[in-house]
Amino acid sequence: MSELTTAHFLFLSAALFIIGMVGVLTRRNVLIIFMCVELMLNAVNVSFIGFAWEQNALTGQIFALFVIAVAAAEAVIGLGIVMALSRRLDTVDIDEVRQLRE
């Protein structure tokens, strides 16, 4: 492959996404999981922008912008919850947070 194609970016996106997903699946620290979720969001952004690049369109970029905005909102709330969690339960281990059970 001597030219850059969309597939390059899609593979990058897929790799990042799956690394993030594996992180969410395997880690127990809430903050790490949070970071992995951010990684997945970013991977999706790469896809969006890659497609926008391929199609000569801005829609993908704007979508990515919205994803960033939503990620910012999510970060604020998520970190707030983590803070509250650590204050109440004195842990950030996702396996110890089982108040939603039954």
Partner: protein, 240 residues
């Protein structure tokens, strides 16, 4: 091989390696640093994709704000050493990796056999250059076609801000909830208006149904029967 492809491989390789570091690092702070590295490289790839504004936004929002906040929280909560539980239980870890591999294979197959191609968009590089650059083009698109979504996003951010304020002051909220519970709970069996957190011994006795001041300026009233119960002040009349 063109220089762009080399640069891409370099950036992508570092981004993926750093992403792997996020998952594999034992120390959360190292994870965060890896993530920053990954994000910066992704931002550089954005520049390659003619999305300069997003690249900068990525750096400012993700690395400049979100990851900094994560670090902040990490340092606030992580006083004791946490690495004992850095990984999940063995079975879960195995299943996670397996699922990841399967999905990767699937997505790779999907990318390689990709047949869907959309219609070309209305912003070729010349058109973007004509309006002054990437940021001007995004601005035009954003504030015309995507007017409503951007307003909705503004609302979302506002809601998130309010939510963060709510979450960040748990002591205050608990206090308010207790007050609300005290004010808006009507019970036939218990003296009305008694703080539920108060020790039981301080409650008035069962026959002590005279009006007498207790607990500050509030007045305790025993509700003995339904008749008196209806004489309770209406919701609107409750004063603190």
């Amino acid at each position: 091989m063109a220089i762009e492809v080399l640069i891409f491989y370099l950036l992508a390789g570092v981004a993926i390696a750093a992403a792997a570091g996020v998952v594999l690092a034992r120390n959360p702070v190292h994870s965060a640093v890896s993530l920053v590295l990954s994000f910066v490289n992704v931002a550089a790839i954005y520049v390659m994709l003619r999305a300069e504004f997003l690249a900068v936004a990525q750096v400012i929002v993700y690395t400049g704000a979100i990851i900094v906040l994560v670090l902040f929280v990490l340092m606030l909560v992580q006083q004791q050493d946490l690495p004992e539980f850095h990984g999940g239980r063995p079975l879960r870890r195995a299943v996670g990796f397996l699922l990841g591999l399967v999905l990767l294979a699937e997505v790779a197959a999907a990318i390689l056999t990709r047949s869907l191609r959309g219609a070309p968009g209305s912003w070729p590089p010349e058109a973007v250059a004509a309006v002054g650059g990437n940021i001007q083009a995004i601005g035009r698109e954003l504030y015309s076609v995507y007017m409503l979504p951007i307003q909705a996003t503004a609302l979302l951010l506002l809601a998130a801000t309010v939510g963060a304020l709510f979450l960040a002051r748990p002591e205050l909220i608990e206090e308010r909830l207790a007050v609300a519970r005290r004010l808006f709970t009507i019970s036939l069996a218990h003296p009305r208006g008694v703080d539920p957190l108060q020790p039981v011994a301080e409650l008035p006795g069962p026959h002590d149904n005279e009006r007498k001041p207790a607990g500050g300026d509030r007045v305790l009233v025993m509700a003995r029967n339904a008749e008196e119960f209806t004489e309770q002040p209406a919701w609107g009349e409750i004063r603190r």
